[in-house]
């Protein structure tokens, strides 16, 4: 393809902005044009994602800006405000686009044209891209795009974004963007009544008025949205999602854990003992394992979420559960994200990307660490088994099970309460109109699904994995320095115990002791708290090391060691039921997970939010543990 001489220097990129409403197929089109290689950043001063990419397969450099979706240029949210500012040339550090490509959904032409009329007032070179033209045809509609182009006075082209139909033509059109017409002056239509009177006329003229409904979708919806069967199916789908994360991810996670354990043992056997070997096995290998162990959950959560999204059920699920989430100021879409957080806050926070409202998304991300993730379970199981008597309370219900249930409820209720608190304080603002569309049901394509899942997984590895690895090495160093000489008289377990007791982490534990003493925690728990910043379940392995139980898998041994530990000065048990309950409550609330902190920073685009969440959760944890310890000492 040759570059026409009329165009400017090909090295000088052309800036084109994509404008359109959410669900119009704008992002699918952006991915098709750029090969899904977006440079993702933030607009200055706001947590609105800025996506830009180079258009591939064109004879010149074209920078495509994927503006946030908007239904109108009278903004209600920070996202929509950005669109208005960019179009008006008022956005700081953002060049005014050379041309605009408006993307509208052909099946909802009238609504799309309402936005088109507003965008045309910007008086820049503009083209109109009509998506889902296959859907229009399938439903017996006939759109006269040529006529639409003549009426609007700008180029109009039709595409089917997810199949790539029409994308080659669109590339050609983008190359000629400088020659797009500046739209002729339409009468000013600031009043929506005048605007839609005009829109209705145009839509009728080009044959875009109401193509027939998709009848299959209507039939399925009668069942899936029925007051009774709708609720039942919703519950079943969510139960399936929840269960599959546990049932399918756990074997894979155990496999990864096991593989890295074997690799560490193999390394120890082959390499000479020493600092470098320790760094390799306990620092780097453990760190890489700590990153990869999240992959099964991320892959499963995202496969299911994208599958439900592609089929069209996700919007229905949001419709069904919206009222409940509305009670705490959130919306239906937040539900799935919070449910995923029960497995792990990391896929949960990443799943919050499907929440369109930035404030609701932020609130969902901030409360997700309160949901009882699977990393808390090892400590919960250990402490409950060691200190809570296995009494029957009511029928088959045991006291141990009730305590476990109580911990889950405590986390969930605190999450919801915190959401309500956030939405009425920090994240307060003009309440945006809730808006949800139920797309027609579609058969998902395996290729699209695989691309989406791969994108989420690789983004996690690239954006969070490296930081998690670095933090794991730092924590290893805290537990391993200063070094003490190897004493051949000690067993491996005793040597490890001596090393931990001499480490920086132990010093931190001792320093912390006066602070955590009111919670009933001694320095040993202090070391465990420091170590558990790597991941909550690490506290179990660390306690095993401190108590020299040897293998962390020796569950019974550790349980007995905790229960029989005595204070060397007083001879009193140093680990009591009150201590155990206080520690459990501490773990319900505290953000003891650096991976969560890292991913939260990545997802919110700022370290301020994880800093806030960490402090808030730590303060809650401290206060609640204190109250628990005092009450338990007084009454139990």
């Amino acid at each position: 393809m040759s570059v026409p001489a009329a165009l400017g220097d090909p090295a000088d990129p052309l800036h084109i902005a994509l404008v359109g409403s959410p669900n119009a197929g704008k992002t699918t089109l952006f991915n098709a044009l750029t090969g899904a290689r977006a440079k993702v950043g933030n607009y200055p001063g706001v947590t609105v994602e800025r996506r830009e990419g180079e258009v591939r397969g064109v004879a010149r450099r074209i920078r495509l800006l994927d503006l946030p979706g908007t239904y109108s240029l009278n903004p209600e949210t920070p996202d929509e405000e950005i669109v208005r500012e960019v179009l008006a040339g008022e956005c700081p550090n953002e060049p005014v686009p050379d041309a605009l490509a408006i993307v509208i959904d052909g099946t909802t032409l009238a609504r799309g044209l309402g936005l088109v009329v507003q965008v045309l007032q910007a008086r820049r070179p503009t083209a109109l891209v009509v998506t889902m033209i296959d859907e229009v045809r399938a439903r017996g509609g006939r759109l006269d795009l040529g006529k639409l182009s003549r009426i609007l006075g700008i180029p109009v082209t039709g595409v089917v974004g997810h199949r790539g139909v029409g994308v080659a033509d669109l590339r050609g059109l983008l190359e000629r963007a400088e020659r797009w017409a500046v739209p002729k002056a339409l009468p000013r239509m600031d009043d929506p009544e005048a605007r839609f009177a005009w829109v209705d006329r145009v839509a009728t003229d080009v044959g875009g008025h109401s193509p027939a409904r998709d009848r299959r979708t209507d039939r399925i919806d009668r069942v899936l949205l029925h007051p009774l069967s709708g609720l039942l199916i919703f519950a079943l789908v969510m139960l399936f999602l929840f269960q599959s994360i546990f049932a399918w991810a756990v074997p894979a996670m155990d496999g990864i854990d096991g593989a890295f354990g074997s690799l560490a043992r193999l390394s120890r056997a082959l390499l000479p003992p020493g600092l470098l070997t320790d760094l390799w096995t306990d620092g780097i290998l453990a760190g890489v394992g700590a990153v990869l162990v999240f992959l099964p959950q991320i892959v499963i959560v995202f496969t299911l979420i994208h599958l439900l999204e592609d089929v069209g059920y996700m919007a229905r699920a949001a419709f069904v559960v919206d009222r409940v989430m509305g009670w705490v100021g959130l919306q239906g879409r937040c539900f799935v994200s919070l449910l995923s957080s029960y497995a792990c806050a990391i896929p949960g926070m990443m799943a919050a990307r499907t929440v369109a409202s930035p404030r609701d998304r932020l609130a969902t991300i901030l409360i997700s660490p309160f949901m009882t993730c699977s990393a808390r379970l090892p400590l919960y199981t250990l402490l409950i088994a060691a200190f809570v008597p296995a009494k029957r309370v009511f029928g088959p219900l045991g006291l141990q099970g009730l305590v476990m249930l109580g911990l889950y409820l405590l986390g969930a209720l605190t999450a919801l309460g915190s959401a309500a608190l956030l939405k009425s304080t920090l994240l307060r603002g003009k309440i945006a109109t809730f808006y949800l569309e139920l797309p027609p049901y579609r058969m998902p394509t395996a290729r699209l699904l695989a691309t989406q899942v791969w994108r989420s997984a690789s983004a996690f590895l690239k954006r969070a994995g490296t930081l998690i690895l670095a933090a794991a090495v730092v924590l290893w160093a805290l537990l391993s320095f200063p070094r003490i000489p190897v004493d051949p008289a000690r067993s491996v377990g005793e040597q490890a115990q001596a090393q931990v007791q001499a480490s920086l982490a132990a010093r931190i534990g001792h320093t912390l002791e006066p602070v955590i003493e009111p919670l009933g925690f001694d320095w040993k728990i202090g070391v465990g708290l420091v170590a558990s910043l790597a991941a909550r379940e690490v506290i179990v392995a660390t306690l095993a090391q401190i108590y020299a139980v040897g293998d962390e898998d020796d569950f019974g041994g550790l349980r007995d060691a905790l229960a029989s530990d005595r204070d060397p000065q007083t001879g009193e048990p140093s680990f009591t039921l009150a201590t155990a309950l206080a520690l459990l409550v501490f773990f319900v609330f505290a953000l003891q997970c650096m991976s969560t902190v890292v991913v939260m920073a990545r997802e919110t685009g700022s370290w301020r939010w994880p800093a806030l969440a960490f402090s808030y959760m730590l303060a809650l944890a401290y206060g609640a543990s204190f109250v628990t310890y005092r009450l338990a000492t007084a009454f139990l």
């Binding site: 239904y71 109108s72 009278n74 209600e76 099946t107 909802t108 032409l109 009238a110 609504r111 309402g114 507003q118 929506p192 009544e193 839609f196 829109v199 209705d200 839509a203 875009g208 008025h209 109401s210 193509p211 919806d221 949205l225 029925h226 007051p227 009774l228 709708g230 609720l231 919703f234 419709f319 069904v320 559960v321 919206d322 009222r323 409940v324 509305g326 945006a432 109109t433 809730f434 808006y435 949800l436 569309e437 139920l438």
Partner: protein, 96 residues
């Protein structure tokens, strides 16, 4: 047909002009069009979405828990919360 809102009577303490009634009292499936009068000003966003006077619409269904509702207008369907559409009033095409 199941009435859309059980709170309809609370919603409209005073009768509106003619057969104009709150959208929330419109049973699903009944065609209606938006009145020129509304009890409170219609929010800008709804107007930008095409909720302007004389536009025909039909409530398709309510969510299983009663809120939000799905409305068909100008050939597309949208789910809105009752609180957001409380200002809208409609005239049914055939008296209910």
């Amino acid at each position: 047909m199941r009435p859309l809102a059980t709170r309809a009577s609370e919603d409209s303490p005073e009768p509106l002009k003619g057969s104009c009634r709150p959208l929330s009292s419109l049973p699903p499936g009944l065609r209606a069009h938006l009145c020129r009068h509304s009890r409170t000003p219609v929010p800008q966003r709804l107007r930008d979405l095409g909720f302007v006077a004389d536009t025909p619409l039909v409530v398709v269904r309510a969510a299983p828990l009663g809120d939000p509702v799905e409305v068909e207008i100008r050939g597309y369907r949208v789910c809105l919360r009752r609180a957001d559409v409380s200002s809208l009033c409609v005239v049914p095409e055939t008296p209910a």
